[in-house]
Amino acid sequence: MGTYEKMVANAESYIGLPYRFLYGTDEKPKDAECFVMTAQGDGMKNAAIDDGDYIVFRKTDKPRNGAIVSVILESGEMMCRRYFNEGNKIRLRRENGITPDLIVDKCEILGEMVTLIKKYDQPKEAV
């Protein structure tokens, strides 16, 4: 069983989301396999991803350059990073403006972000 299959088998739950939310159209796309993760911490805040947001990833091991990806390092650590393919190296950026880029020879990409479901913090009383 691959990492992705293991992750799906151990999923907390399956969530149905309208295609419209993921692909901007009501038609079923050819390649519709997605998974959802919740963002933890503020490591991707410069990419407008905040703690508690839901990130929908489309399953792929060939993300576009500059895409936000769900990635597993050789150490087994899973993270959310911006992805740059630089030929023989892969650059993984934590979008917080502080942490230096991580450059690796190899990593396993699970998917790239297609949709961000942001919770919206509203002032709850008069300001």
Partner: protein, 207 residues
């Protein structure tokens, strides 16, 4: 003991899971049979029994395949996608609803929502971009400073709600100015306005 074709076994298992996810119900034995190119549902039954023996699926009392409980761990609430410009009719009029979608309560909770497509960049500083789907909690009241969807004339628009003594200011969240220094998105000042709801979530699709 009869042998099982492992590949076929896994293909059936995947087929059942995908089918449940897509259709919300289990496939019939006949459908499973067809999927593996067998018109005889007896063979499918034998494989299903084996999958059950291995603990990879459960059966209901009536022999049908049980739905993976995680599929329905959450329930859904319907929400209508309304057109931003209602052209004279009420914004929630049937003619103005572009579609109804099921929102999983796990993410969106159980309050009543409607959906609106964001147009333009007037709310960019509050994280709403052109083409985003705004998930709006239906309510007629709001606190000052909240981002509301209000009806201005015929148009439903998201703005910051700033009630004053005898007027209401609806302010954009975009400070850009034109070459004369005037705000590109000036305040909208009205005597009164109808609040349709407050923004609860924003769905942003990456292109």
């Amino acid at each position: 003991m009869r042998k099982f074709d492992e590949e076929k076994l896994m293909a059936i298992c995947d087929f059942i899971k995908d089918y449940q996810r897509e259709e919300g119900r289990s496939p019939s034995y006949r459908e499973i049979g067809r999927h593996i190119g067998q018109s005889n549902p007896g063979l499918a039954a034998r494989y299903i029994k084996e999958l059950e023996r291995r603990g990879m699926l459960n059966k209901e009392n009536d022999g049908t395949i049980a739905i993976d409980t995680r599929l329905f761990s959450g329930h859904t609430r319907n929400a209508s996608l309304v057109g931003a410009v209602a052209c004279g009719m009420p914004i929630f009029a049937e003619e103005n609803i572009e579609g109804t979608y099921q929102l999983p309560t796990e993410i969106f909770g159980t309050t009543e929502h409607f959906l609106l497509m964001a147009k333009g960049y007037s709310m960019i500083n509050k994280g709403i971009e052109d083409g985003d789907i705004i998930v709006v909690e239906k309510t007629n009241t709001a606190y000052p400073g909240q981002v509301v969807v209000a009806l201005i004339g015929d148009e439903a628009t998201a703005k910051i709600f700033l009630p004053q003594k005898n007027k209401i200011i609806l302010r954009a969240a975009n400070d850009s100015v034109d070459k004369d220094g005037n705000r590109t998105y000036p305040d909208i000042v009205v005597k009164e306005c109808k609040i349709l709801g407050i923004v609860d979530r924003v769905i942003h699709a990456v292109n």
